[in-house]
Symmetry: C2
Subunit: 345 residues, 2 copies
């Protein structure tokens, strides 16, 4: 190792990815799109593209087995990968699952994990086609790769947003983050007094958002049926603000969203207030909602305006890097993309 | 978790994979071949198959940074994945690299790792197209997925070996395992007296076999040029005996090999003896050689008999599960597939 030592935490995850990918270029004609979108794009015959994405989940970083049942973890690990394929407007078809396990995990524990993986495979129509299984000196690591397909003329990148496009987001935001706060609080209560039963009943919706998120494959189908091809798309894994920045940066445009249009569930809102957190900040920066954020041309607005789960929250403009939110009071607030920085200590 | 507790170590890695994959079946028409070969096979247009494989390397299990320089680790992590594609008679084209890193790794350390990854990408003509980067509470985990291509009529499985086929193996065997023993010994010497310099000069070849293995993509090309399509193929990652069992099991045949035909390098042989290890046992069960083991029909024997790096070590017969070695003394010894069991404590 060299004498200089630079900390990864100073770069952050996106900075590190930029740093790493700088020295690499694409040389095979089958590599259509590499690093920098929800999935890579490979050629796969005359009409189709093959999509490939991968996610690594590390115990103690992405999940805590104190409140994450292994069956939910298995399901979620698949769902978040399927979500990346959905974000390219594709259909997930295959996964590989690699596991590193300490000997504290029994065969029954592995079975519980795979029961969740199996349920997700059934639900999303995905085949388990391979993987790797190894020991681990500490903790559980799950690395899933997913492949999907999309017709060449239906692939949607982060880079296609045009000025005057309408910004849409599905479902509601911030719930997974607030659900995590509830789970963390109950864990502390339990650690202080193991006889306490967790009081999760009234938080069922948001706890479910954290423990068993779904990929919005339904929305991908609905858009196709409505005859709408988004101009850009991304899934909300790091938080709405962070994803808007990705679309803005990749498309060379700016975004303007309206605070009062951001969809927030009532339980999310009330629980955020209970935790002294600003519900809008949770929606903007909470992450792990796995909703789809996309832009459509104005011509397509009519086609989906009655969809019950698609919310139009703003529009695209031509000033690159000018990402703004109009508050409920009508003031203009610059958006800040916090996203996640697992490397910050 | 259920009340019964079964230990993973009792199943072993292959038993665990069998156990896991039991509940899964292939449903998408694009899934040609799933779990159970060196790579999964997906449809990819009229003439080609897409190959997909994945490997996870865990610090403290697969490598020890006390003697594995990060640049070599990066190279090796790519090479072992490319080797899986070569074992399907394919050409690797893309990889994704996922990393979990503790904060003891600096940006410079990550750069060293990616320098090795980059060198391997250049050497094998592979594009880095994606990945994931995350923090880790302890240790380094590298998960690489690789995609490759092969013409539909050129794909080679583990399952095609026929009675009377000739068994071939490339290069030489056991070196990577003996190289590891040397590195382990030097580590102990260093730990006992940090002023000692490692004495590795005379072990350069076998240490290199451990630290910087190469995928035998050259042999895949040579076979194609010679007009030879192997009837079955696998790469030697777990040891010759273990791989012979895989071919035998998947093809429903038995194998018979000759001890005196097993290629062992002179340094490997001498060093094994120095360590009081049987060189043949090292070649049979050492693993990590990343040579290719394949079978050819007798009609093809002439075409490659002068290849300097392909060794014909035996033949296939019709008695399934009867895997035998003819010793130098002419006695018949049943082969035992030890392979690796990372889960054994």
């Amino acid at each position: 190792m060299s004498e200089t030592r630079s900390e990864i935490s100073q770069l952050g995850e996106f900075g590190l990815i930029d740093h790493i990918s700088r020295g690499f270029s694409l040389k095979n004609t089958s590599s259509i799109k590499g690093i920098g979108d929800d999935a890579a794009v490979l050629s796969a015959g005359q009409d189709d593209y093959l999509l490939l994405s991968t996610d690594m989940l590390v115990e103690g970083i992405h999940f805590d087995l104190a409140y994450m049942p292994l069956i939910h973890l298995g399901y979620k690990a698949v769902a978040v990968n399927v979500s990346d394929i959905a974000a390219m407007n594709g259909k997930a078809e295959q996964i590989t699952v690699s596991l590193a396990l300490t000997n504290r995990f029994s065969v029954e524990a592995v079975d519980a994990l795979y029961k969740g993986i199996h349920a997700a495979c059934e639900n999303y129509g995905v085949d388990l086609i391979g993987g790797d299984t190894t020991a681990s000196p500490s903790g559980l690591v799950i690395s899933i790769s997913v492949t999907g397909r999309v017709k060449k003329d239906r692939v949607v990148y982060r880079s296609g947003a045009k000025p005057n496009d309408i910004i849409c987001v599905t479902g509601d935001l911030g719930g997974a983050f607030i659900g995590l706060q509830v789970l963390e609080r109950e864990k502390q209560v339990f650690l202080a007094d193991p006889n306490m039963q967790p009081a999760l009943d009234s938080f069922e919706y948001i706890v479910g958002r954290q423990l068993k998120p779904e990929a919005r494959t339904d929305v991908v189908s609905d858009l196709a049926e409505a005859g709408v091809l988004p101009t850009s798309m991304i899934d909300v894994s790091d938080g709405l603000a962070s994803e808007l920045f990705h679309i803005g940066k990749n498309s060379g445009v700016g975004v303007r969203i309206f605070e009062d249009k951001i969809p927030i569930d009532q339980v999310t809102f009330n629980t955020a207030v209970e935790f002294n957190l600003d519900p809008i900040t949770c929606a903007l920066n909470g992450g792990e909602d796995y909703e789809l954020l996309f832009t459509i041309s104005q011509a397509d607005q009519e086609k989906i305006k009655n969809h019950p789960d698609i919310h139009m929250i703003g529009y695209v403009h031509d000033k690159a890097n000018q990402h703004l939110m109009i508050s409920k009071q009508g003031t203009i607030v610059p958006l800040q993309a916090q996203g996640w920085n697992h490397f910050a200590s």
